[in-house]
């Protein structure tokens, strides 16, 4: 895993090869979560997870990192209590790894504090940008897939991994538009990113399906192109139909049940990559905990079939 020399913009000069200085990507077997399905921890369900007598039957939980950046107060306290009983995965949505301006140091420090407090089993972020100048847009915005972008994202991942002292997983985006400037496909871009930084990938099956529909990415080719050993986690979620009659779009909402197409692509992904820690992501119009657990059980059944076969 030798990193090529990067010629551009001098962002990287201070960064060593992260693989040399911190823990390598931990394989799912090491985590003990390889065959298990988790769910997202939502505020409305927190009290159920604090119930000593009937703790909900789920192996692990994922939290949105930025919801817990205040190092004190009620949310942080609840998370600390829940983290004593459940393995926690920390999923960032706003670090803006695609920012050529570099990472927001304060943001990275908050993330590092959270990781230090919770001791998560997994840490993940997105292939996206969400900040420009002083403004934060609260949206995972798309990147042209070019060598320049690869340099920028690699430098930001290096800095993140150096600060956290561990590797992170980077999630594939849900695509709604393409840039003419792009010079490579998503699978190639993500694979090169893992080679450059030692990071792993979080495969969001719903995002892949959406990008397949909206942008014409061949999902079978995508699954075949990405090396199995870099996939550290899988996300499952629902989506909605949008756009127009002439130009239909699938839209990622995290607000509905996992669709049959997503289940089918999930099975294909497991057949290709092997079992991976899987998470049901449903964070708008949050349903009952029971509904989330049912979705998790369905994912577990699919994973179990792959394990038997």
């Amino acid at each position: 895993m030798k990193r090529p020399i990067v010629e551009t913009i001098g962002m990287e000069s201070n960064h060593r090869n992260p693989c040399a200085v911190h823990e390598r990507l931990r394989g799912p077997t090491v985590l003990g979560l390889e065959n298990s399905v988790g769910i997202g921890l939502r505020t409305s369900h927190c009290e159920r997870f604090l119930d000593q007598n009937t703790p909900p039957p789920v192996i692990w939980l994922e939290v949105l990192a930025e919801n817990y950046f205040d190092r004190g107060g009620i949310r942080h306290k609840m998370l600390s209590m829940i983290a004593e009983r459940y393995p926690i995965s920390v999923h960032g949505v706003a670090l803006s790894l695609g920012s050529p301006e570099g990472l927001d140091t304060e943001h990275l420090e908050h993330l590092a504090s959270l990781v230090a407090d919770v001791g998560p089993c997994l840490v993940s972020e997105h292939l996206a940008w969400s900040r420009s100048g002083e403004v934060y847009y609260n949206e995972l915005l798309p990147l042209p897939l070019t060598d320049e972008t690869l340099d920028v994202v690699s430098a930001n991942i290096d800095r993140t991994q150096d600060r956290l002292g561990r590797t992170i997983l980077v999630e594939n985006p849900s695509g709604y538009l393409e840039f003419e400037q792009s010079t490579m496909g998503e699978a190639t871009f993500l694979t090169r990113l893992t080679e450059r930084t030692g990071c792993g990938l979080l495969l969001d099956v719903n995002n892949l399906l959406i990008s397949g529909f909206n942008l014409g990415i061949d999902t079978t080719e995508w699954l075949a192109a990405v090396p199995a050993d870099v996939i550290g986690e899988i996300h499952l979620a629902g989506h909605e139909h949008g756009g127009t009659a002439d130009h239909p779009l699938l839209i990622d909402t995290h607000g509905a049940a996992v669709t049959d197409e997503v289940w089918a692509l999930y099975a294909a992904a497991l057949n290709r990559f092997g079992p991976r820690p899987t998470m049901i992501e449903w964070d708008s119009d949050v349903p009952s905990l029971e509904m989330l657990l049912e979705e998790a059980a369905r994912a577990q059944r699919i994973m179990d079939r792959v394990l038997v076969a």
């Binding site: 205040d70 004190g72 009620i74 803006s96 920012s99 403004v135 915005l141 709604y176």
Partner: protein, 255 residues
């Protein structure tokens, strides 16, 4: 190139729908750009909505959406974590022309923001009454007590507490709302975190209101007590301090 591309892209994200979205120079698909622009506007508006549910009910969903979207466009967040986003919404509401008739609206919003602040504030010890009792009278007089980091005072010329509380109790049914006489006068509200997992909202008596207002403006203990007595001649400091300490209104002090 990426830097410029993002600036061009970002510049159009928070513009209103009517102006038509896609940034021409980027030659990206307008419909796809519209999805990102819509997600940006709606998700930030919902972030505001989640903090201000009572304010929203007071004006109705459509009015609130218009008001919150204007706020988002003119006050976009500066941080990737949103726990501090919306802090200046109450000031925005106070200046928002279409709501000019609803004088109490901004104060209700201030109560709602104070609850978020209380929930997210760092953990810090409250006032130590035993240490306070050990102090010499003279030292006590000049003691600069301050509000606890999780505590806020909201002073309203309107019965803002009654309005806020009425919307906690009736489960969202406007038919059941009590009539509130806006002329019943000013109310001062204490919002604090009395226990690790609990936010409290309390209507203060006039003595407590004067006492805490003076302390929050950094007046010393003696002057704050005198202000309280001016409001309530029989202000019982020992018992009031006990209650205020239980509500974690006051920070610990260092002599």
């Amino acid at each position: 190139m990426l830097l410029q591309l993002q600036r061009t892209f970002a510049a159009r994200l928070l513009e209103s729908k009517e102006k038509g979205p896609s940034p021409d120079r980027l030659r990206v698909d307008a419909l796809g750009f519209g999805v990102h622009a819509n997600n940006t506007r709606v998700s930030l508006r919902i972030a505001v909505e989640n903090v201000y549910p009572v304010t929203r009910r007071l004006v109705g969903a459509d009015f609130f959406t218009a008001m919150a979207e204007q706020f988002v466009a003119s006050h976009p967040p500066n941080h990737g974590w949103l726990s501090a986003y919306g802090a200046d919404f109450a000031d925005f509401v106070a200046q928002y022309r279409p709501a000019a008739d609803l004088g109490y609206l901004a104060d209700v919003a201030r109560i709602e923001w104070a609850r978020v602040r209380a929930a997210n504030a760092p953990d810090a010890p409250g006032l130590d009454l035993i240490a306070l009792a050990r102090m010499e009278t003279e030292a006590l007089e000049g003691l600069p007590l301050s509000l606890h980091v999780a505590a806020s005072l909201v002073s309203s010329p309107f019965p803002a507490f009654d309005i806020w509380r009425a919307h906690q109790r009736n489960g969202g049914d406007d038919e059941q709302l009590p009539q509130i006489d806006l002329a019943i006068g000013p109310q001062t509200i204490l919002v604090s975190r009395p226990a690790a997992l609990e936010v409290g909202v309390a209507l203060l008596g006039s003595g407590d209101a004067a006492f805490l207002s003076m302390l929050s403006e950094h007046s010393p203990f003696g002057a704050a007590y005198q202000a309280a007595v001016l409001e309530e001649a029989d202000y019982d400091l020992a018992s009031r301090l006990g209650d205020l300490a239980r509500m974690r209104a006051l920070a610990t002090f260092i002599v």
